[in-house]
């Protein structure tokens, strides 16, 4: 697929914001705050470090997305790879157990990757 006409106006406005990137950015921030806060609670209860770290990573991703920075993609890639490694370490090839660990983060990965054209355009 190539660029659709509907995005043409953005090109002509160098400082324009892509609303969908913003929405994803805020979703990441929201989820990041929830996961980060819950993660800190879990940490205090003696549980896993993953959620606190993932929450920070998601918030960072969201903030960078809102700034239309390509760094968002790199940050989230680190979060996702870290998630992958952690998930494998926790439950290995138990695919049902991987559902909550990998499915939603991977969907977010896909969405973040889909933002790349918009982020590149902004430059």
């Amino acid at each position: 697929m190539t660029t659709s006409d509907s995005f043409a106006p953005h090109r002509s406005r160098p400082h324009g914001r892509n609303w969908a990137v913003m929405v994803l950015g805020w979703v990441c921030i929201l989820f990041g705050l929830v996961i980060g806060a819950g993660g800190i609670w879990l940490l205090l209860l003696g549980g896993s470090w993953y959620y606190a770290l993932a929450g920070i990573g998601l918030v960072a991703t969201g903030v960078l997305l809102n700034a239309h920075s390509m760094a968002a993609v790199w940050v989230y890639l680190v979060v996702w790879l870290g998630t992958l490694a952690w998930a494998w370490w926790e439950v290995g090839a138990d695919w049902w157990a991987q559902v909550p660990r990998l499915v939603a983060p991977t969907l977010i990965l896909v969405l973040v990757l889909l933002c790349i054209p918009a982020l590149l355009r902004r430059r």
Partner: protein, 747 residues
């Protein structure tokens, strides 16, 4: 590349999608009954075959299985051997009847062994044969041809919930097959006979059980047949069909016509409320078939759980199968005094542990084996009597001729987890010793000498168990476990927490860390919730295990689900309406007042997450396993149940992926090496290869198959049947179908 930016809705759908898998888990609490005792049972009635013609029977008559009749009393054997010996299994039913008559001589002494029927063409006992092996010598349907099974009939009982019974149906019915008939009860105790080959109704008898009598669920797991050895052939009620009802009556009708047996109690009915005390509908109900031994019908009852210490007695009684007169009572609180009933003006000891499930009997020894439950107040024990502590959650062997205890074997010391014994025990000859296999809700499988109660397999002791803060002096710091085999999985860890997304999984992890949990046998607590794992659904529940006595294999299906519980201080309970079940946490929640004890109880059965109802632990939630009967080693073990009925937002996914659902109901085994089982919440009925665990055939039922299937033969054609009636607690719909399958008739 698509450069379109994803709209929010796409994102949300994606996130929701992540969770689809978990939905299947939504009916986690298979076992049933949230109200503990009341809950666990489910079975469906049997179907009858439609077609006439006997299929070519490739049954090899020589099949060793047919001569089986595991551990049946010898005496019985002589009198009735002929039929099943080797011939055509189809003849079995007539033979059985004939044999029964033939044995009259033997039974004059009221206390002597009477003939037992063999399983084969017939399915004469709830557990198949008198030993409750759930093993059939039939072998016409094989692993090779099972995929060609076709439905031969569907019979609808017409018993569907009306009015206040809505949402309370869990029929759990398993019919008997005797002669040409399938004999069964419906959820509300309507007795029904249908033609076993065509499904056409022969007769029905409705005792008119009112909706108010429904305890936890409307359940009738089965019926019992008895042939009066003194009666002449053709006499009315010579062979009688007996059931015990939700409104606590013992009812006997003529098996051939459905006419009440006049000579039994009062016009065919015995009132089990007699000497129990105050009648509160639903507090005292019978859902299990009675067992008959040496002419004595033995029945317990289900006493509603979690209510009050002053609950009806758990007394187990024996009644003359011909006259309905009380033969004896076993009241563990006053066994001597109340053996022939309590003194004038008194009642059986109240609040004692009961037997809600099915007993098994050894006709030769004259013993009946009672899997006992817990006291009515399940989660607090300091004010229980010594007798209660001694017998609760024990297998008790009684001499059925006198009602006196012979031995008992306790599986939990001072049970405050509602680990009732829910499974019917199975009689086998184990390495030369007459033995009894006892599965428990904790998953332990014990094999005991059935004469003495001595364990034949190693029993270990857990020591140094935590005693908690609620009643540290009461809680036992040791518990027995089977070192021979257990279905129980390792203790939970934070990594076992689940959810649809990282967010609900995280919330479950927080709940896990906030709860009291020291592994198996963590005692109840009130300051914080505690995790009970395995939950009260088992392990093994009323579906029991099946035993292939030829191959030496135990087949056990089981649940693998925790409960998330909290004791609620009396002050908090007082704020709630007594005797009502306030909404618990999550959809599987429940609460009981435990009136008379310092705490009420709140149970989140299946530990479903707040709000979402998604289980907090990872699948599988149930499995099925084959165990070597000699060594106790696992031969294969696999999750039972697919994800087809679950999906996000309650929408069925139709995914044929095996996830392992909660399950309720047992298996039937055939000599040809097949395991037939419904049970799971995917509403499938399936055939599994006993050698490999592989599913060879499955069919979608119109409602859940929470019932034990059976197999039988008519005119040389083998049938398998299950009742598809659903289960309210398992969330598998409601139905009234009795369904049967057989191989296509080849002309």
């Amino acid at each position: 590349m698509i450069r379109t930016v994803p709209p929010l809705s796409v994102l949300l759908i994606a996130l929701a999608g992540a969770a689809w898998a978990q939905d299947e888990a939504t009916s986690p609490d298979t076992d049933a009954a949230p109200t503990e005792e009341a809950a666990p049972e489910a079975e469906a009635p049997a179907p009858a075959p439609e077609a006439e013609a006997p299929a070519a029977e490739d049954t090899e008559t020589a099949d060793p299985a047919e001569t089986e009749a595991p551990d049946e009393p010898e005496a019985a054997a002589d009198t009735q051997e002929a039929g099943t010996e080797e011939g055509d299994p189809a003849e079995g039913s007539e033979d059985a009847a004939a044999e029964a008559e033939a044995t009259e001589e033997e039974t004059l002494a009221a206390a002597g062994p009477e003939p037992v029927w063999e399983v084969g063409a017939d399915w004469p006992y709830w557990g198949g044969d008198a030993a409750a092996t759930r093993y059939s010598p039939l072998s016409q349907i094989t692993p090779e041809n099972v995929a060609t099974l076709e439905q031969v009939f569907v019979y609808e009982t017409g018993d569907m919930p009306e009015g206040t019974a809505e949402g309370k149906y869990s029929p759990e019915v398993t019919p008997l097959k005797f002669g040409e008939d399938l004999l069964m009860c419906s959820a509300m105790n309507r007795l029904i006979s249908i033609d076993a080959a065509t499904g056409e109704e022969n007769w029905r008898y409705d005792p008119g059980v009112p909706n108010e009598a429904i305890p936890y669920g409307a359940t009738c797991r089965g019926v019992t047949l008895y042939t009066d050895p003194e009666a002449a052939e053709g006499d009315v009620c010579a062979t009688r069909l007996v059931q015990a009802t939700l409104d606590a009556k013992l009812i006997a009708v003529d098996a051939a016509t459905g006419v009440p047996c006049e000579g039994f109690g009062e016009n065919g009915m015995v009132d089990l409320w007699q000497d129990i005390g105050e009648r509160v509908p639903g507090w005292y109900a019978v859902t299990a078939p009675p067992v008959v031994v040496r002419g004595v019908l033995v029945t317990g009852a289900q006493v509603k759980d979690g209510q009050a210490e002053d609950a009806p007695s758990g007394v187990v009684r024996g009644f003359d199968a011909v006259t309905g007169e009380l033969a004896w009572a076993w009241d563990l609180g006053a066994p001597e005094q109340n053996r022939q009933g309590p003194p004038e003006g008194e009642v059986y000891t109240r609040g004692t542990p009961n037997m809600w499930t099915t007993a098994v009997a050894d006709e030769e020894l004259g013993y009946v084996y009672l899997p006992m439950g817990n006291s009515s107040v399940d989660y607090y024990g300091s004010n229980r009597s010594e007798a209660e502590n001694e017998y609760a959650t024990s297998l008790v062997a009684l001499d059925a001729t006198t009602g006196e205890e012979v031995w008992h074997f306790q599986t939990v010391r001072r049970d405050v987890w509602d680990y009732d014994l829910g499974s019917q025990a199975t009689l086998v000859d184990w390495q030369g010793t007459p033995a009894i296999i006892l599965p428990s809700k904790q998953g332990d499988i014990y094999i005991l000498d059935r004469e003495t109660g001595e364990p034949l397999t190693p029993v270990d002791e857990l020591t140094g168990l935590p005693s908690g803060e609620i009643e540290p002096d009461y809680i036992s710091d040791t518990q027995p476990i089977s070192a021979w085999h257990t279905l129980r999985k390792p203790d939970l860890t934070e990594q076992d927490m689940w959810g649809f997304t990282p967010i609900d999984q995280l919330w479950c992890r927080i709940q896990f860390r906030r709860a009291n949990y020291d592994g198996f046998y963590t005692p109840p607590s009130s300051d914080r919730p505690w995790i009970q794992y395995p939950g009260y659904n088992g392990g093994s529940d009323w579906g029991s295990v099946a035993v292939d006595v030829e191959r030496g294999i135990i087949v056990a299906n089981y649940n693998d689900i925790p409960n998330y519980n909290r004791l609620i201080p009396r002050e908090e309970v007082e704020a709630l309406p007594i005797n009502e079940r306030p909404a618990g946490e999550g959809s599987g929640g429940e609460a009981g007042p435990q009136a008379g004890s310092p705490y009420g109880i709140k149970v989140n059965a299946g530990w479903r997450n707040t709000g979402t109802g998604v289980p907090c632990t990872s699948p599988p939630y149930g499995g099925i396993r084959a165990i070597d009967l000699e060594t106790g080693e696992t031969l294969w073990d696999r999750p039972l149940g697919t994800a087809r009925r679950n999906g996000p937002f309650g929408i069925p996914s139709y995914l044929p992926l095996t996830i392992g659902t909660p399950n309720n109901g047992g298996a039937v085994l055939t000599a040809s090496g097949l395991v037939f089982i419904g049970a799971a919440t995917d509403n499938l009925f399936r055939a599994i290869d006993i050698e490999t665990g592989e599913t060879l055939w499955s069919v979608v039922l119109p409602a859940g198959g929470q019932a034990n299937p059976i197999t039988y033969e008519v005119d040389g054609r083998q049938y398998v049947m299950i009742t598809a009636m659903g289960h309210h607690f398992m969330e598998t719909g409601v139905g009234d179908e009795v369904m049967a399958w057989a191989l296509p008739v080849t002309e």
